[in-house]
Amino acid sequence: MNIVVSNIVDPAFWYSVLRVSTPLLFAVMAALLSSITGTINIAIEGMMLMSAFWGTIIGAFTRNPWIGLMVGIFSSTILALILAFVHLRLNANLVIAGVAINLLSSGFTVFMLFLLTGEKGTSASLGSQPIPRLDVPLLRDIPFVGKMLNNHNALTYLAIISIFVVDYFIRKTPLGVRMRAVGENPNAAVSVGISVSKMRYLSLILSGIFAGFAGAFLSMGYVSWFARDMTSGRGFIALAAQALGGKSAIFGAFGALLFGIAEAFGFTLQSLRIPSEITNMIPFILTLIVLVIYARLRIKSHSRIQEL
C-alpha cells in the first residue's frame, strides 16, 4: 500500500502518467471521431504503426522530425482512406477490413524496415530525430504542477489541447453535429439531406489523422526508434477507453488516463522485481474489466432485444 501512496504524491509519477497516456489520448480521439458516425475503426492499431514507421524513417532521412510527423500522419490517413473506400464503396465488412489493414501495416512496416536498414527488429541504427520537448517558462516555476506538466514532448501538449478541440468540434460545430446525427440514425440523417457516406468518409479520415499523431509520438517521442509491432495493442486499448467515455471526448480522455495510470504503475511494480510479463498484463486486464463495466452500464439503458 505504501508504494501506492508514495506514487500518488510523487510528481514524477504523474509526469510519466502523462507521457504514457499521450498516444492513448490521441488514439482515443481517433476512436471517438470514427465511432460518432457509427463506424468503428478497428484499424487504429495499424494506422498508428504505419505512422510510427514513416515518422521515424522520414524524420531520420530528412533530419527533421516535423517532416517525419507530417509524412507519418499522411501515411495513416492514406490507410484510413483505403479502409473507408473498401468499406463504404466496395461494401467490405468493416471489422474484417480493419483487421486486414492491421495485418497490412504489420507486414509492410517489417518488410520496409528490413529493406531500408537490413534489420527486422528496430530502426535504432538509423539515428532518428525525436520531436523536441517544451520547457514552458511560467509552468516551470509552479511547485508540484510544474514538475508534472513541464518539459513534456510537444505532442503531449498537443494531445491535451486536442481533447478540447475535439470536444468542441463534435458538440458545437454544425459538421460535428451532422456527423453525430449520422451515427445516431443514418436514415433520419438522410431524410434531412445529410450524406451518410460523406460523413463517414470524413470521420474515418479524421480518425486516421489522430491515429497518425498517436503513432508518430510512439516512435519520435516515447522512444526514438521504430520497433516491429511497437503499438502492442494500444489501438485496441484506445477503443476500450473510448467505449468507457461514450460519446464524450472529455470522458474518453479520462479513460485514456486510467490506462496511462495502469501502465505507469506497472513500471513502478517492475522496480519491485515483479516480472515484466505480469506488469505488462495490467492494461490488458484493465481493458477487459472496463469492457464489462461499460457493457453493464449499456444494458441498463437499453432493452435486451434491441441489444441482440
Partner: protein, 348 residues
C-alpha cells in the same frame, strides 16, 4: 443462373489473387535487384523439392485448424479473433500435460492433445462468457486475451519449464510417449490427417445437424433466429468454446509433432493467418482445406524466397491483407452479378 454466379464468384476470387500478386511483384521490384528470380522462388519454391513440399504440407496443418476455428465463429457472425491466443494457450496446455503426466503410451498423447483442446476452450471461455453474460464486445476482449495469453504463457514457460541445458529459451523436451508421429523421411506431420478429419466432422456439424443450422441461422439473421426460438446466446457461447477447442488442439498438435517442446517466444501467427483462411473459404468448413493449402503455399513460398534471396518474407502478410480486402469487398464485380441476375429474370 446459379452456375453463372458461381463462375463470377470464382472470377472475383481469381481477380483478387491476381491483383494481390501484382502488388507483391511491385514490392519485390523495389525490394531487390532481381525481382523475377525472387518471384519465381515465391511461386515455384514449395514444389521445387520433396523436402519443401513436405514443409508446405506441414504448414497447412495448423492453418487448417485455426481457419476452421475462425470459420465457425464467423459463420455465426461473431468476431472472436482470439485464435492466436487460444493456439498459444493450447500449446501451453499440451506442454503442461506432456511434462507432468506419467509417461503411459497412447494415453499420454491423447491426454496431451485433449489438454490442448481444453486449454484452448478455456481461453475462449472468457470472451464467450463476457459476450453472453454482459454483451461485452468479443472483438476487443478476444484481442486482449491474445496479449494476456502471450505474456502469461511466456512468463510460465520461461520461469517454470525452461530447459536450462538448451541453448535457447525453450521448455523441457517431451517424453516420447507424448509425441505425435511424423511420417516419411522429411517428417510429414501426421496431424494433417487429424486436421482433415476434424474439418469433415465440423463440416457435417455445420451443414447436417440442428446445432449447425442454428449457427447458420444466427449468422444469416440474428433477430430472425431469436424470434424463431433459437437460443441465441446459448449458440453464441458454445460456438466460441468449440472454436477455442479447435484452435487449442492446433497448438497441441503442432508442438507435439513438430517441436516436442515449447519453442515460441513470439506468436507464430497461425491464428491471424487463420482469419485469412476462413475468409477465403467464405466460412465454409469444407473449403477450409483448399484455402489452408493456398495460404500455406504462399507462406512457405515466401519463406523459401526469403532464405534464397534475402528478402523479408513478411511481404506475404501484405499480399494476404490485400487479398482479404479484395475478397471481402462485396461490391467488386457486383455490377456484372447484377446484370446476370437481371438478364436471367428477363428471360423468365
Amino acid at each position: 443462373m446459379k452456375a453463372k454466379i458461381a463462375w463470377l464468384e470464382f472470377l472475383r476470387f481469381a481477380l483478387s489473387i491476381l491483383i494481390a500478386l501484382f502488388i507483391g511483384y511491385v514490392f519485390l521490384l523495389f525490394g531487390t535487384k532481381n525481382p523475377s528470380e525472387a518471384f519465381k522462388w515465391f511461386l515455384y519454391g514449395p514444389i521445387s523439392t520433396q523436402r519443401r513440399f513436405v514443409e508446405f504440407l506441414n504448414n497447412a496443418v495448423p492453418l487448417m485448424f485455426t481457419g476452421l476455428s475462425l470459420c465457425l465463429v464467423f459463420q455465426a457472425k461473431i468476431f472472436n479473433i482470439g485464435a492466436e491466443g487460444q493456439f498459444f494457450f493450447g500449446a501451453f496446455g499440451a506442454m503442461l500435460i506432456a511434462l507432468t503426466f506419467p509417461a503411459i503410451s497412447w494415453i499420454h498423447l491423447l491426454l496431451t492433445l485433449l489438454g490442448a483442446a481444453l486449454f484452448g476452450a478455456a481461453w475462449a471461455f472468457v470472451p464467450a462468457w463476457l459476450k453472453t453474460r454482459w454483451k461485452a464486445s468479443e472483438l476487443v476482449s478476444s484481442l486482449m486475451m491474445n496479449y494476456i495469453s502471450y505474456l502469461l504463457v511466456l512468463f510460465l514457460v520461461n520461469n517454470y519449464f525452461r530447459d536450462k541445458a538448451a541453448g535457447a529459451l525453450v521448455s523441457y523436451r517431451f517424453p516420447q510417449t507424448a509425441w505425435l508421429a511424423t511420417l516419411t523421411r522429411f517428417r510429414l506431420n501426421s496431424g494433417l490427417f487429424v486436421a482433415v478429419g476434424v474439418v469433415i466432422v465440423i463440416g457435417l456439424l455445420v451443414y447436417r445437424t440442428k446445432f449447425g443450422y442454428e449457427i447458420r441461422a444466427m449468422g444469416a439473421n440474428k433477430k430472425f433466429a431469436f424470434y424463431s426460438g433459437i437460443n441465441v446466446s446459448h449458440v453464441m457461447f458454445w460456438v466460441q468454446i468449440l472454436a477455442g477447442a479447435i484452435a487449442g488442439l492446433a497448438g497441441g498438435i503442432e508442438i507435439s509433432a513438430m517441436y516436442r517442446r515449447f519453442v515460441w517466444q513470439s506468436f507464430p501467427g497461425y491464428g491471424f493467418d487463420g482469419i485469412v483462411v476462413a475468409i477465403i473459404a467464405r466460412n465454409n468448413p469444407f473449403l477450409v482445406i483448399p484455402s489452408a493449402f493456398f495460404i500455406a503455399y504462399l507462406r512457405v513460398g515466401a519463406n523459401i524466397m526469403g532464405r534464397l534471396t534475402g528478402i523479408a518474407p513478411e511481404v506475404v502478410i501484405v499480399l494476404q491483407s490485400i487479398m482479404i480486402l479484395l475478397i471481402t469487398a462485396e461490391a467488386l464485380l457486383a455490377k456484372f452479378k447484377q446484370r446476370i441476375i437481371e438478364r436471367e429474370a428477363m428471360k423468365e
